[in-house]
């Protein structure tokens, strides 16, 4: 089959699970006939019926709440929130219930649900359509947060998320939905959760990032390679819980760490990565940790959104500074 984009891979994974697991259902706003505003569920309702692929009323808190109810009673709902800017009404249900149901009933009930949402900026979208607030979900015990950064990882990690016996918030970097294509075998093979993916090996500095920022970060690494700097690029992939062994091993090797994310800096996931290294890898550090992130401001409307985001230049400079320290 032809190479696919990241969003094609999402659709493939959804179709695979709908096909092979009768307890899987998809629900959300415009996921039916319309196939989702980004077409992630295109064709699925026609193929699996309106019972398995449900258009819901416009209420995100409801979408999360009924997903929890379904999951507790043996279904595996995969809910779509149209944009991350509209995910906040789900937080009460995700934090107070989804991440707790197993614990508070001592395993009697559980919550195998997935909450999918496109996130991030860079597509000239309207107000409230470009946010990155993964850190809010990463702070919820019992909730996994998974972010793919390639078609293959989108396919394998989404399969893993749907099959995971616990709730997963699956955030899709919409800016790279169609950025490039890759061969992805539609074989139902999941990829492991809770582990980082090393996108590029290197010796001089460790770069930790996730989502769309893996592209800027890899470009920065390419550029620096020309001047003989060898960067190791790690895709966090599962943003919570974090696979910090991989990060620590890398920093042990390189002695330098730069973290790149699109979300606002303060209390972003990058802070947790930095904190872990400052606790467990401090003696390996040859230079201060650096974060290249979105600023602590509202994501600007699109005339200025690129000024908000980490750019290849900003990343390259941060790496250079680290190397000079």
């Amino acid at each position: 089959m032809p190479d696919v984009t990241l969003i094609d891979a999402v659709t493939m994974a959804l179709a695979w699970e709908l096909e092979h697991d009768p307890s899987v259902v998809i629900l959300g706003e415009d996921v039916g006939v319309n196939g989702g505003v980004f077409r992630a569920t295109a064709g699925l309702q026609a193929r699996f019926g309106a019972d398995r692929v449900m258009d819901t009323p416009l209420a995100e808190g409801m979408i999360a709440g009924v997903s929890i109810g379904m999951a507790a009673q043996g279904m595996r709902p995969v809910a779509e929130i149209q944009f991350m800017g509209f995910i906040y009404p789900t937080i009460d249900q995700m934090l107070n219930h989804a991440g707790r149901l197993r614990n508070r009933t001592r395993g009697r009930l559980s919550c195998p649900m997935v909450l999918r949402a496109p996130f991030g900026g860079g597509i000239h979208a309207p107000e409230h359509h470009s946010e990155s607030t993964e850190a809010i979900f990463a702070h919820m015990p019992g909730v996994r947060v998974v972010i793919p950064s390639s078609p293959a990882r989108a396919y394998g990690l989404l399969l893993a998320a749907i099959r995971d016996p616990d709730p997963v918030v699956f955030l899709e970097p919409k800016r790279i939905y169609r950025l490039n294509r890759q061969h992805v075998e539609d074989n139902g093979k999941a990829l492991p959760l809770d582990v980082c993916y090393i996108l590029r090996e290197g010796e001089d500095v460790t770069l930790v990032t996730w989502g769309a920022m893996t592209y800027e970060t890899l470009k920065a690494a390419d550029r620096l390679a020309k001047s003989g700097v060898s960067c190791e690029v790690i895709d966090l992939a599962t943003v919570s819980p974090i696979d910090y062994d991989t990060i620590l091993e890398s920093v042990e090797k390189t002695g330098r760490l730069v973290i790149v994310h699109e979300a606002a800096r303060t209390c972003g996931v990058g802070a947790e990565v930095a904190a872990i290294v400052a606790e467990k890898g401090l003696y390996d550090l040859k230079a201060p940790i650096r974060r290249v992130t979105g600023y602590d401001v509202v994501m600007p409307l699109f005339r200025r959104e690129m000024d908000y985001m980490p750019s290849v230049e900003k990343i390259v400079d941060a790496i250079r500074d680290t190397l000079e320290d």
Binding site: V66, G74, H97, R102, T105, P241
Partner: protein
């Protein structure tokens, strides 16, 4: 202007406060065994409730939410459900839970600060207590969606209070239930107060049953102190839902005769007179009078029931008090199906400190 839609809200009471039955009573009113069974559970619930409040006062229980005055509403809804149905309670529907098989010591464990209280031996599929107001309505709707999708003849029933009807989650639940004709019933237990906030400040509606109109589903109001009315209409609504005809909202009008919880002092905001007046309408007396009039009850039976209930409650209390703390690591061991590597160090840390304080297990 032309009228394009109209709606009426009906009220039902079969047993008046004096225990007189109205002409149109349903068969249930003649089923003495069932009535006695409900009276028994209502009595056990009240004895349990009194005991639980005392346990809290004497430091043997944490904050506890009393159900005093709600016995008919709670037992009525519990008795109307089938075992395979799913109940999504708030936090004081003990009468319904006991009827469904939850054990008294489990309820005590919960309010005693132990998660194992929500690990009901039965019914395994019911939702646990739900403190975040009205969020459980959506869980019930989700359960009903699961039954509908799998074609199972099962229903979900959620229960929330008058205050709970002000939460968006309540409305979102009744709306999706209407839109998808979900097999479920929404019980709204109107006990007139949300802690210190009277129903008049909660909403401008004349009834809470009429909230159903906003979801395009039937809504009725029943006397929540009349166990026959509650059970009858909930049974009817469940039968309707099971047939595939969709959800119903039932407002049960009762009164919270107790403080909101043991942490509350209702005398700060409620008039004695109001409580006294409400006490005269409470659900036990009228049922006993009715059963007595039917010749199905007498002082001696009452006396024996009270003794048996007291014994049952004492046993439950003993069982509760004898259950040692769960191991400290349990706070980790039920967070995920499998503990993520990232948490193992924290788990060991917790065990180390608990053990050091000789507090790891008991």
């Amino acid at each position: 202007m032309e009228t394009i839609a109209d709606f009426a809200i009906q009220y039902s009471q079969f047993l008046d406060p004096e225990g007189n039955a109205s002409a149109d009573v349903p068969d249930l009113a003649r089923d003495v065994d069932e009535l006695v069974k409900m009276y028994r559970v209502m009595t056990e619930t009240r004895v349990f409730d009194t005991k639980a409040v005392n346990l809290q006062r004497t430091g043997k229980l944490g904050t506890y939410a009393s159900c005093l005055g709600h016995e008919a509403t709670h037992v009525g809804m519990g008795a109307a459900m089938r075992e395979e149905d799913v109940f999504a309670p708030s936090y004081r529907e003990y009468g319904a839970m006991f009827w469904r098989g939850v054990q008294m010591h489990e309820v005590l464990l919960y309010w005693g600060g132990d998660e194992r209280g929500s690990d009901f031996e039965k019914p395994r599929h019911d939702f646990p207590f739900c403190v975040p107001i009205a969020t459980q309505c959506l869980h019930a709707a989700g359960a009903a969606m699961a039954f509908q999708l799998r074609g199972e003849p099962r229903c979900a029933l959620s229960s929330n209070g008058d205050g709970g009807t002000s939460e968006g989650a309540f409305y979102e639940a009744i709306n999706i239930a209407g839109a998808r004709r979900l097999p479920m019933v929404f019980m709204v237990v109107n006990n007139k107060w949300a802690i210190s906030v009277p129903i008049e400040l909660q909403t401008a509606t004349k009834t809470l049953a009429q909230k159903a109109v906003a979801a395009g589903i039937p809504g009725i109001q029943v006397d929540g102190n009349d166990v026959i009315a509650v059970r009858h209409w909930v049974e009817r609504a469940l039968a309707r839902a099971r047939k595939g005809d969709g959800p119903t909202l039932i407002e049960a009008v009762t009164y919270r005769l107790s403080d909101h919880t043991t942490a509350d002092d209702a005398s700060r905001y409620r008039k004695k007179e109001e409580v006294e007046a409400a006490r005269r309408l409470e659900p036990m007396i009228r049922l006993r009078k009715y059963l007595t009039a039917l010749g199905a009850w007498d002082d001696e039976k009452e006396h024996r029931l009270l003794e048996e209930a007291a014994a049952k409650v004492d046993q439950a209390v003993q069982r509760y008090l004898n259950i040692p703390k769960a191991p400290v690591e349990h706070m980790f061991d039920y967070m995920y199906a499998e503990l993520p590597l990232a948490l193992e160090e924290q788990r060991e840390h917790a065990i180390r400190y608990a053990d050091r304080e000789g507090n790891g297990h008991a």
